[in-house]
Symmetry: C2
Subunit: 329 residues, 2 copies
């Protein structure tokens, strides 16, 4: 086996695999690994029993179909929306915008390398030309960037402490952290606030300067190192679970902060719909963040003992424990 095995776990889990072997003459034959002392994270995920996977309701998905690529291939991006109680004001707006087909005919307008891809109304900043929003779009208070829900937090924290999943994980951005319902969250030191965080693939709500908090009509996805400085400063509403490459590999914009300079450079958006309104959508499930398999996976991410590694790190960044997602067979 010359290549570490890639298992059929969706995008975020797959970044687990090691760089491929180097094609050098001095390389040992390596027909088989020298030793196999532990499972790799992808192997733990592949071995997880069906009971450790949780279904994602189609009504909790946002499906964006971009115009076909230069070769005529379809480009679909599937986003899982955050669970309640987080960001529900913005997510309510997003549901209204999708139902109104508001995004159809808009575009991807900004691609800044190592940072974000952003989409919505390309004329949004020109008040004379901006596309009107549908009725009923709420203004969300900035207090919604962080919340406290005792039951949500306590259940997650208790479950994870018992499982001893996350030893060796510290967070420079927050005193605490937890996984719940398929997403990572940060915690304040006094356990009085919980907030969703920005990782690779996270989807958030573009906004103007405070006190604006954004409507949800302009969205972005992180395509580089987790910009955690945005946590509690801007609304997180979900994460890309399939088709991330259709955003991350777009040509970078050459204007200020990655905006495209010409309309021709923008990628047209055909439609954005809630998943329950998309007839041909596969079903998805995530590795339950409350399961034993997730605990083992997180531990293996922090302590790589599979055959490629010689020194386990003994720690891990919360954004380096992406929650595995797969299509239901």
């Amino acid at each position: 086996m010359k290549h570490p095995l890639l298992l059929s776990v969706a995008l975020l889990a797959s970044c687990n695999a090691a760089p491929a072997p180097a094609p050098t003459k001095e390389t040992a034959p390596a027909a088989a690994p020298a030793q196999k002392s532990a499972l790799a994270p992808t192997e733990i995920v592949a071995a997880a029993p069906a009971a450790d996977w949780a279904a994602i309701a189609p009504s909790d998905l946002l499906v964006m179909d971009l115009a076909s690529d230069a070769k005529g291939a379809a480009r679909r991006v599937v986003i899982q929306l955050l669970p309640a109680p987080f960001s529900q004001g913005w997510i309510g707006n997003i549901r209204k915008l999708a139902a109104a087909k508001w995004w159809d005919g808009t575009s991807v307008n900004r691609v800044q390398d190592g940072y974000v891809v952003q989409w919505g109304d390309p004329d949004g900043e020109d008040r004379a030309k901006a596309k009107p929003l549908p009725a009923g779009i709420a203004v969300v208070p900035e207090g919604e960037y962080q919340l406290y829900d005792a039951a949500f937090t306590a259940e997650a924290a208790a479950g994870q402490a018992a499982k001893d999943t996350l030893r060796g994980m510290t967070d420079p951005y927050a005193p605490g952290y937890m996984f719940r319902d398929g997403f990572p969250f940060a915690l304040s030191g006094d356990d009085k606030a919980t907030w969703p965080i920005h990782c690779y693939g996270t989807v958030g709500v573009g906004r103007d300067y405070p006190p604006d908090t954004g409507s949800g009509a302009e969205l972005y996805t992180v395509i580089g190192q987790a910009p955690r400085q945005l946590d509690r400063n801007i609304a997180v509403v979900g994460r890309v679970i399939e088709g991330m490459e259709h955003l991350s590999s777009l040509p970078r914009g050459t204007g200020d902060i990655g905006f495209y300079k010409t309309a021709e450079e923008r990628t047209p958006i055909l439609t954005i719909r809630i998943g329950s309104d998309v007839p041909d959508l596969p079903r998805f499930e995530y590795l339950s963040t409350e399961s034993k398999s997730f605990a083992a996976y997180a531990d293996a991410r922090a302590n790589r003992r599979d055959s490629f590694y010689i020194r386990p790190a003994g720690g891990v960044d919360i954004c380096n424990v992406p929650v595995p997602v797969r299509r239901v067979k």
Copy 2:
């Protein structure tokens, strides 16, 4: 001002800018920010005096020219090599490979979303077809993944403690950290080992299973969340300082771990040379990691108080303090 200002600092520093304002009708006019209590990191970099910038010797650059893109535009990637004493065995090999024009006619063979782009001999894994390496390529012991250089470490640690730059920065992967000579490093708890780390844009050496350590002929660049689990398990040799978008926006491979399935999908490499052998290369400099400006920049990255932010994080990940680079005017 509707867009946060983008200053002319090369790629890695530019990921600093905030997502653009949302084009919403309920947005306050925001012709000017409500308040301006502190400089943004990019503003600190723009204001840094000339003395705070350090020249990068062309002999410490590796320049990769890819085949032109579909529109005929040139694609050049510039890599700054790690300072001594780190990874010098592999870097010595890389200098020999460039001098022998060994990479000319090879290709980018793997693009795995959120992880790495990898290049070198596409036939490297087929012993019958692999391109022979030039004479004098060293086998580097794995002990070189981490080193201890008392003077290098002590000088950096003392300088940074005095500057109080990095308060609020913890690292889940290592007990300590430091910046020196334009790069981030991790430290062991007993200060007996120092090692370069994997961030967005880091360049490393592909290898086979241990005890192989790679020759340097197959290289990769990180295009997603910092895969810090690779630290001390694989050799870091530098980082991309210009042209990162030519790698990060390449189409993702659809084979195992992002390898392209067909030769046609690969991006040809025209040449790879050491910078001192490239006649038309601009001069580059980095914001000295020993300067007061860098200290202020790192502090601002950890505590965003510029007008877009409402809650400074109070901490920062070491990979979220990319060392600014610019072309010399």
